[in-house]
Symmetry: none
Subunit: 232 residues, 2 copies
DNA sequence: TGCCATCCTCAGGTGTCTTTCAGCAGCGCC
DNA sequence: GGCGCTGCTGAAAGACACCTGAGGATGGCA
């Protein structure tokens, strides 16, 4: 998960930028391109671990590009397919995409699938640990102190997002766009879910999900209390 | 990539000190430890961008520590392996180190590899250091002398702005537009926040946030007489 | 169809932060 | 030294951010 490289090829600028931002926020190094013009070069120089490929592209389409990726790299491929492109979807998988996401999609889903693919490729660990809590995004399991914690789907997605950002402050806007796919701003929705998530997490230990007033939320162990000299 | 943080875990003191000195000289903030005793804590508090890890360590060995790094941080890892530890080398890479350096090594090589890894991770450093204060914009944390300082959101934004400008004088107008987004001019608002910020910062050390009468404010170490040539 | 879990909205309560104001201190120019 | 200007800081009220309980809407499942 850490520092893996992801190449995004998508012509629609709004989507490309959103995906780029979301993946970068999840800790990946991202290179984004509007088309496959320089694909060979990008594969050689950037050496992505995963390529996110739109099916419908001007010039060479996604399937042609998939071929290229397969021939000249070992990267995994996630394809973006149109809503009802059933034929596309089948073709994408049979022709060897590793996974696909159907448009319109929530950014959190794409991030999760990229993460899952990296894990399958053996290039990323499958669990994240914060304090005594273990979050396994792939298995859909959360443990605290060795005991499983039951979460609803939304709570789990929220926790996974915060886990991917662990140590970094995530604003409510970022959370809303990444977990819910909303871009209108209703901070209360996030607050409500933070509240229920805390109730479940804190039944087994001290606070891990901290409020940073005016900025957002962070997942981290402890309050950072007195700590050792970081400068040497 | 100056200003990135590097954690070094190496038991041989001669090597550790040499590496520490070389990396510090290359512009990184370095924390060095002889073993992995406090690794979790160091990861959490120091939030390194890269960890340099010796394979052979007393207590938990390098591979066990690598696991810990992967689970509880997003740092990249460079492993130090013995000369002919071919098995080690393979194991290190397959178990997910991002790079390795074979002992004995030239310091320049290690520095080059750390630099390359940072570039691959696309990790823009998120911290700024001024004197003994460390401002981590991403984590929403300010440390002085290793101790965290509690700031409100506005104080924090103001400090981040001044930190980004460190060494340069920022006028009250610039500050108002950049931090508050206001374009009407009420200098007192800035003065009030400078005042509260100073009270909190100076509880732990000498003045860092200086008034330049008639011009604005600067963040820098020391009083610095007439010649403003800060080393950054 | 009816039940249940989950999702989302709403509204009230609480505590903190922001901003303004006003008075005081310090600097520099005459 | 006197005066005006700039900067500092304490106090206060109004605004804002956050938390949480309650309940309606939705969708899956028997």
């Amino acid at each position: 998960m850490t520092g893996a490289r992801v190449l995004v090829v998508e012509d629609a600028e709004a989507i490309r930028v959103a995906v780029q931002t979301a993946l970068a926020g999840a800790g990946y190094a991202v290179l984004d391109k509007p088309d496959g013009q320089t694909l060979e070069r990008d594969l050689r120089v950037f050496r992505p671990d995963v390529v996110v490929l739109d099916v419908m592209l001007p010039g060479r389409d996604g399937f042609a590009l998939l071929e290229v990726v397969r021939r000249s790299s070992t990267a995994g491929v996630v394809m973006l397919t149109a809503r009802d492109g059933v034929a596309d979807r089948l073709r994408g998988l049979t022709e060897g995409a590793d996974d696909y996401v159907v448009k319109p999609f929530v950014l959190a889903e794409l991030i999760a699938r990229v993460g899952a693919l990296l894990r399958r490729l053996g290039r990323a660990p499958s669990t994240v640990q914060v304090g005594d809590a273990v979050i396994d995004a792939e298995a859909g399991v959360v443990l605290r102190g060795g005991q499983p914690i039951e979460l609803t789907a939304t709570e789990f997605k929220l926790l996974c997002y915060l886990a991917a950002q662990r140590g970094r402050v995530a604003s409510k806007t970022q959370i809303l766009t990444s977990v819910w796919g909303y871009d209108d701003y209703d901070p209360n929705l996030v607050e409500v879910y933070v509240s229920t998530l805390r109730r479940k997490l804190e039944a087994r230990g001290p606070r891990l999900l901290h409020t940073v007033r005016g900025l957002g939320y962070v997942l981290r162990e402890g309050d950072l209390g007195p700590c050792p000299q970081p400068e040497s």
